[in-house]
């Protein structure tokens, strides 16, 4: 057991830390306009790209540094610690690219990977539908073959960044006569066509981080099928398995920073000596630290034993629950400012409410833990 970084890992961290210190992003635009913010994040990704830091975990042949998972986790911790924005094309970098590396043809890799890395082409994810959330395989968006093209019709939801995206990772039903997991196909759909309409979805924070997609006979060339017709479920799982792997390390550092800010505020207001607040803050401190330990243990066990331990399923659950508890406590400590519209604290507090839903609800995560980790019998659900 050695809970420190090796000299090589420390050197990697220090190199990145120094680079981030010398190459800070521009100041965040104050206009409140989402397009301005997008441009800011795109410019930031280009700066990372020029410095060779857009996606260190990508293989060198695709423009990355080919670093191992530990270095990749260090990368995301440092991105979180430096309080820089997430890259504009985070979904392409974390989900789309790695999925293509597994399932894409050589032509697809050559065509699509470089512009993901450079932020020339932004990607979005068309998985969830109004009637297919946790039960993703029940999705209804149809794709029908027409010559060497597919004609896609349906509706998608929770599509972040769709208004800026060139490509959509789209899962659609290509065969309605087979069991639901078997009739799906994974496509790369061009968003720049009239048949795809993007409508912003306003959330409880007031902002529109997500969108709905209305797709009416959109055209997708056969060459844009990823991983073969009817194989969409497996390809989608590759995407989903990548979903939280890296970003989790950045989110957990942000959680730590938010807790440190809260502790600071509690101290300034003389609440840290109050045993009730002290107890609650100490509990959050324990949760933050065990979260980081669990995340690192999951990662290093996966490297050591070739398969992740139970930690992977627990980390997102613990993170989301802790972020909600923390922001609720912060409202008590910070006071009226945290309930004043437009403040950072009110945003953090309201935004946290989505954490236990997005990227796998806590209920689904508990099912996964119960069934796949503990081996409990599966609840019988309607087919």
């Amino acid at each position: 057991m050695d809970l420190t970084f090796t000299p090589e890992q420390t050197a990697f961290r220090d190199e990145l830390r120094a680079w981030l210190a010398e190459n800070p992003p521009e100041a965040k635009p104050t206009s409140g306009d989402e397009h301005d913010e997008f441009v800011w994040r795109r410019d930031w990704q280009r700066r990372l790209y020029d410095g060779g830091w857009a996606a260190p975990s990508w293989p060198t042949e695709y423009g990355g540094r080919g670093v191992k998972p530990v270095e990749s986790a260090i990368y995301f911790e440092e991105i979180g610690r430096a309080r820089v924005p997430f890259s504009a094309n985070t979904l392409g970098l974390l989900l789309g690219g790695p999925t293509l590396m597994v399932w894409g043809t050589d032509e697809q890799k050559e065509r699509y990977l470089p512009p993901i890395l450079s932020a020339e082409e932004i990607w979005c994810q068309g998985f969830s539908e109004p009637d297919a959330g946790s039960d993703l395989a029940a999705l209804k968006t149809r794709a029908v073959k027409d010559g060497d093209e597919w004609v896609v019709t349906g509706q998608k939801v929770w599509t972040s960044g769709a208004q800026f995206a060139k490509w959509c990772m789209l899962v659609a039903r290509t065969d309605a006569d087979v069991p639901k997991h078997k009739g799906l196909t994974y496509f790369l759909m061009d968003m720049e066509q009239d048949a795809v309409q993007v409508r912003p979805l306003r959330q409880i924070t007031g902002e529109a981080e997500f969108n709905e997609l209305f797709i009416e006979e959109a055209r997708v060339p056969d060459a844009n099928v990823v991983g073969g017709v009817g194989n969409g479920w497996k390809v989608a799982l590759t995407t989903l398995m990548n979903e939280r792997a890296g970003l989790g390390f950045a989110l957990q550092i942000r959680l730590r920073q938010l807790l440190d800010d809260t502790i600071q505020t509690a101290a300034e207001r003389g609440l840290l000596e109050d045993p009730l607040y002290g107890d609650a803050l100490a509990e959050l401190h324990i949760r933050c630290e065990t979260l980081r330990l669990l995340a690192w243990k999951g990662l290093t066990d996966a490297e050591r034993y070739g398969q992740p331990g139970p930690e992977g399923s627990l980390v997102k659950w613990l993170w989301s629950d802790t972020n909600q508890r923390l922001t609720e406590l912060a409202v008590d400590i910070v006071g009226p400012e945290a309930l004043t519209a437009g403040t950072d604290w009110s945003y953090e507090f309201l935004r946290a409410r989505g954490n236990t839903i997005e990227g796998g609800t806590t209920e689904v995560l508990k099912n996964i833990v119960a069934e796949r980790v503990l081996g409990l019998p599966r609840l019988k659900a309607a087919a």
């Binding site: 809970l3 803050l281 100490a282």
Partner: protein, 341 residues
Amino acid sequence: MDFGYTDDQRDIQRTARDLLAERAKPERVRELAEAGRTDDALWRELCELGWPGIAIAEEHGGQGLGTIELSILCEELGRSLAPVPLLPTALAAALIQHGGSDEQRARWLPDLASGETVGALASGSDGSSDLVIGGAEAGVIVLVEDDGSARVCAASDAEVAPLASVDPTRSAARVSFGEAGEALGGDACVGLGHALVAISSELVGVCSRTLEMTVAYVKDRKQFGVPVGSYQAVSHRCAQMLLDTEKARSAAAFAAWAADSEPSLLAEAAAMAKAACSDAGREVTASAIQAHGGIGFTWEADVHWLYKRAQLDAALLGGGKRHRAQLAGILADRVGASAPA
């Protein structure tokens, strides 16, 4: 960054688990607990194997290994509930080794390392403690007062009144030092840190075993024609038990590593571990009784032994609330230190 055990540590873990699976079967633990006796034969065997001295320096007759190795044994003892006084002996030794004078170490550690003398750790105030685990068998007792000061005393010089705690898998006693004993020569804090790691690790073992028993039970037990574990009300409870157990395990592992390799982090890591493990121990074992339904509340089901062990370990040297208060103080000091002058 590596949470794995070395090959030697894995050997210790495997050997301990196999041995205790053989020697401390549930029937045997029950038989002894019902008779109110500890397992002398097993204790002698463990002493021959050098378990009590695993983390005691070689110059004092121990094996000179670390707190990680001790924590591995404690976890296995928690899993099995073996009725032997290893934990209290290791706790007394930790206080003397890390907080005693050279003379105190030379006087007490060799017999604790060999198991010739059983140790106990009492926490209390005004020279007495109302519930000392292992106290009835102990030859030497370390008393930690609420203010953090510690005294060591031969049991024969103290007043020791054996009593039955709710956990009959271990002996217990009320202990009063009066004016007897002598102050530990050094700072008791480091020894307390090591002691907290050992107790925390035993709680991890208790949680782990409890979860396994519960999962096996809810897979097997049928109501309404299906295993009760297929209901989410039950399966999600089990998932929560796993989360609590794994949080506790990672906090204890971090503290054990800090004890051996990063002493500057020990006070904080030990407080985190003891808080997380105490709470997990109580929650997980209580959940187990609930998930077992009516049978879980009976004397004949084995979950209550684990529940009771968890209560005593959770209370020993303070539970979640006390250690969170400790952490709040550490957090406050840190904020104070970083504040501009």
